[in-house]
Symmetry: C2
Subunit: 333 residues, 2 copies
């Protein structure tokens, strides 16, 4: 029995943070035994809106790989691979671009939102408009059937499966399998300021490499219930970042439920709840930080991990490319 | 002294015709000694508007290569190579797509014309919109500094050079050279029906594999001066396809000048002029047809020629890709 293949990864635009941990890294640890897992260091995708900042994209390759290894990704069970070193991904992208219209790309809701968010207008880089096609190339090249995505990214899997069906129809047989999006149960972790999305650029993220003081400061400044002025007052749990984080990271669910009830009734101060959260976050991050610091001193090892993962990825992606090109009927030498 | 590199080629969408011979094949014969010449069998570019017809694109690979060899392209001096078997072209394309905006691609006059001509509207395949970027990848990957193009294609070289300048600016040094477009003196050969462009799909082309009867029939049906009803009448030479073809293929320029003068004065019938043109075309095509038929019986040889040319092309294009990726500062394993 071969295990199902799962492809996931991160754009290499900076080190990862608690949002990644809650949203994706934890579930990747769980997938290591049940699935054949590939983690893609997506430097080519990072360039679609960072072409002016290749230095950041390059240095983040090691940073993200360090985050993976530090949280417990095991390179013997999960292949960590570098997108720009996998030619088949570009070749399949160029092929698939002929199977998708410009109008279809412009209709993609994820792309529409991101164009708006980045203020690109018509000055959107062509690579950015086309990245759903590149993502379809990634997913199909790895023959991944399971793709964990954020809830706003489901349309990207739809686009992938449209291309899969088009390729199969042109070939007259099933060359590629459709992929299934799985949306992590945890959902998205809000920023410490209460905004919906934690992101480094918004300055509301706690990086996985945060020092104990960074964590204390972040929890102290964390958004709670602005109307909860006195300890004795009833407080709101919904939209209260401290409780959202407790839900995400405190394994003692009964204790959290009890705290929520007390907070709602009144008589529980923010300081007490924050103290509990801080303890949990400090305990969570301490071994990750130690491990990360050790690994950061052995960059050759990290590079070697990426090299071995990339070689393994090259095998499977080259084979898929050959299958697709032959299957569609291109001239073979 | 290394020779300057020239890149040219054809989309593999059907066998070549007299228009290609007059417009490009003849000059490629002349370049064989003075330049390092690569002829690209552009099957990936052919797919940008032929994804539904891969069979035609595949079979045309051999047809076009046969045409090259039949007219006298010498694989010892010119490398004939297959685009879909050169991964570096796709990799550079994906990289360059991040350096060009969608608005810029849509402004490209060649693309605008072709979108109109093909009636694509918004349903243009993304690969078609992006093909100027793929062409920039081709040109730069081969480090070609000379690119023969049709007169309507000069904007494509402009796009290439914009990308070259952007890459060099990002790298902070000259990674790539700008290319120079050369527009063949001969200009474009009209169709036998007098329409501006000879094309197989318009049914107004004489293929290089035409039989003697095909040539006779084509010349007989050729558009002349519709107002030149009697031999004694003065006739028009401008827009008269027979004279355009004589200009293109008759090496005895004095004799052609003399015929034109007589035709203009009156007293020279279409039949006489057509007889001369037919003789010239039959003499031109006879050895090409014989050679083509011989080669067509040895497809293994033709495939081997493409294989060797592609291997040589792979060396130079892989090296360029590495130079560009390293030069821009991508992470190297």
């Amino acid at each position: 029995m071969t295990k199902p293949i799962i492809l996931t990864g991160d754009r290499t635009t900076g080190p990862l943070h608690f949002g990644h941990y809650a949203g994706s890294l934890r579930s990747r640890l769980a997938f290591q035994d049940s699935h054949e897992q590939f983690l893609l260091l997506a430097d080519m995708q990072a360039l679609t809106d960072n072409a002016h900042n290749v230095g950041k994209v390059r240095s983040s390759v090691i940073e993200v790989a360090l985050d993976y290894l530090a949280v417990g990704i095991d390179p013997e069970r999960t292949s960590i691979c570098l997108q720009s070193q996998l030619p088949a991904l570009a070749e399949l992208s160029m092929l698939y671009l002929n199977l998708v219209t410009v109008a279809r790309l412009e209709r993609n809701p994820t792309i529409k939102d991101e164009i708006r968010a980045r203020g690109f207008g018509r000055d959107i880089p062509a690579g950015f408009l086309c990245y759903p096609v590149a993502q379809a190339a990634d997913i199909t090249a790895f023959r991944a059937t399971i793709v964990p995505v954020g809830e706003d990214q489901a349309p990207l899997i739809e686009q992938t499966n449209e291309i899969v069906r088009r390729v199969n129809a042109l070939a007259g047989r099933t060359l590629l399998q459709e992929a299934e999006a799985i949306i992590p149960r945890a959902g998205r972790l809000p920023g410490v300021d209460g905004r919906a999305k934690m992101s480094k650029s918004a300055g509301n993220a706690i990086p996985l490499s945060a020092s104990p003081d960074d964590i204390s400061a972040a929890v102290r400044a964390m958004f709670t219930d602005p109307d909860h002025l006195r300890v004795a007052d009833p407080g709101k749990v919904e939209g209260n970042v401290v409780f959202t984080y407790l839900d995400a990271f405190d394994d003692d669910h009964d204790a959290v439920a009890e705290l929520k009830a007390r907070y709602r009734r009144g008589g529980l101060g923010d300081t007490t709840v924050k103290r509990r959260l801080e303890e949990i976050l400090q305990a969570l991050i301490a071994p990750i930080r130690t491990r990360r610091a050790e690994l950061a001193n052995d960059r050759d090892h990290v590079t070697d991990v990426i090299r071995r993962g990339t070689l393994k990825a090259r095998e499977i992606t080259e084979r898929t490319k050959r299958d697709v090109m032959e299957g569609l009927g291109l001239f073979q030498l």
